[in-house]
């Protein structure tokens, strides 16, 4: 050891500032609960917070009350930590599945690599049969058409446009390190706004987002896509 001082920093400093969140997570035993349904109970929609507004809008359109179709959301931030989606869904359903007649998940696979499906099987619940929300909003043929035409397409929805600063810009750390823009978005050409609603303010915001990312702006009004049918089916009206 030399007498010269070292900087305080590195891993020890970091660990001092934060608990190890994952260790607690990993310690959780895998749930083996197979839950039963309540045939007289309401329908549960357990969804990513990123599509909460859309589900509420669809529920209203269908004239279904929030007693008949209960919406519960998990934080949209799990998007960036897909490893936590299946355990969080599992935990929620283990505790609450028995109250509901049917459960529909407002998720695609969302990068869980099949883990979510295993959980759903145990709890007799279904999800949208898509990879992610961009695909179910656009519907599969249209999504494929857009990506086949331009692989460098980066998709945003009403939700992501609204929360672009917090979820995309700050989520990528571009607020403090704008020089990382190229590392993140260097492979992209277009920002494709898959709009749920016709909202000029959001269109302006989306255009600004495209400019900040250095991408072309492309607009598609796609509405609720396959989410609409999934919610209608769940409501059984």
């Amino acid at each position: 050891m030399s007498d010269a001082a070292r900087r305080t920093g590195g891993r020890q400093a970091r660990l001092g500032r934060r608990a190890r969140p994952q260790e607690a997570e990993a310690a959780q035993p895998e749930s083996l609960v197979t839950t039963s349904a309540n045939p007289d109970g309401p329908v549960l929609v357990l969804a990513c917070g990123a599509i909460a507004n859309e589900i509420i809008a669809l529920r209203e359109q269908l004239g279904v009350t929030d007693d008949a179709m209960v919406l519960h959301c998990l934080p949209a931030e799990l998007h960036n930590r897909p490893g936590q989606i299946a355990p969080r869904v599992d935990a929620f359903l283990s505790e609450h599945r028995h109250k509901y007649s049917r459960v529909i998940l407002g998720y695609g696979d969302c990068g869980t690599g099949g883990a979510l499906d295993k959980v759903l099987e145990r709890h007799e619940a279904n999800r949208l049969p898509h990879a992610h929300c961009y695909e179910f909003f656009a519907t599969t043929p249209r999504f494929n058409q857009i990506t086949d035409a331009e692989i460098g397409s980066y998709f945003v929805t009403d939700f992501l446009v609204r929360h672009f600063d917090r979820l995309v810009w700050e989520g990528c750390g571009l607020d403090t390190r704008p020089e990382m823009l190229e590392t993140y978005f260097g492979n992209y050409r277009d920002l494709v706004y898959l709009a749920q609603t016709d909202n000029p303010d959001l269109q302006t915001k989306a255009q600004e987002a495209a400019a900040r990312l250095g991408l072309n702006y492309v607009y598609h009004k796609v509405g609720y896509g396959d989410l609409a049918e999934a919610i209608r089916e769940a409501a059984d009206v």
Partner: protein, 228 residues
């Protein structure tokens, strides 16, 4: 991140300097890692030792904390940038010296339909650190790109990356094609990407699954019979 306290790296002993470099790499401080590398070289360190003891070891710790949710993608990118700061100095020395023969060529690329490349680039950097000559095919690679690269570079190992559920199966398509052409029996194929797991890698017939960059570099060394 440290508060930017001014310290004099040159005043540190070798052991402390290596520890400081690992911390600085963890904190994404590229200039400091660059300087530390320079100092160790001036003190007569072998470039390979600087690489493995300070940079690769530092990045290994970063990988663990990323996996455990302590570091996030933006921070990992900073760390990778800091490692590059040291690599710039070491690369020409390593290339010129024959102190350590290359472990062979490693062809790596993200599969068709997928343009995520942060993880792949990190793996490429760690493989380079481990002594492979890395040929990076970039993103969105159809099977023909892999075949052409195999023809051209005669790699010791090939690696594929996928981050999307929709593009993972394409790895299986490539492996099937390699099998059909009789290439697979002589060419280990590694796969990786966040949504993958060992089970999937086994199902598509990959030789091995790399959970993170450090593990992948170790696995790759083992595959060419150079695990130390």
């Amino acid at each position: 991140m440290s508060d930017g306290e001014e310290i004099i790296l040159r005043d540190l002993s070798d052991a402390d300097l290596v520890e400081q470099m690992k911390d600085d790499l963890y904190d994404g401080m590229a200039a400091e890692v660059h300087e530390g590398t320079q100092i160790l070289l001036e003190r007569g360190w072998d470039a390979n030792d600087v690489l493995s003891e300070a940079l690769v070891e530092g990045m290994r710790i970063v990988g663990i904390d990323f996996r455990d949710g302590i570091l996030f993608v933006p921070e990992v990118l900073q760390c990778a940038g800091a490692m590059k700061g040291g690599m710039e100095l070491l690369r020409p020395i390593l290339a010129a010296s024959d102190s350590k023969a290359s472990l062979g060529t490693y062809v790596i690329g993200t599969v068709k339909g997928d343009i995520h490349d942060i993880g792949k680039n990190l793996v490429g950097m760690m493989l380079e650190g481990a002594g492979f000559e890395v040929i990076d095919l970039g993103i969105n690679n159809p099977v023909d790109n892999y075949l052409a690269a195999i023809d051209k570079h005669n790699p010791a190992i090939m690696g594929m990356s996928a981050l999307l559920t929709t593009t993972m199966p394409y790895m299986g398509v490539v492996i099937e094609e390699l099998e059909k052409r009789g290439i697979l029996k002589n060419l280990p194929v590694m796969v990786g990407g966040a949504p993958l797991n060992q089970e999937f890698a086994d199902a598509i017939g990959a030789t091995s699954y790399g959970r993170d960059a450090a593990v992948s570099a170790e696995l790759a060394k083992a595959l060419v019979g150079r695990n130390r």
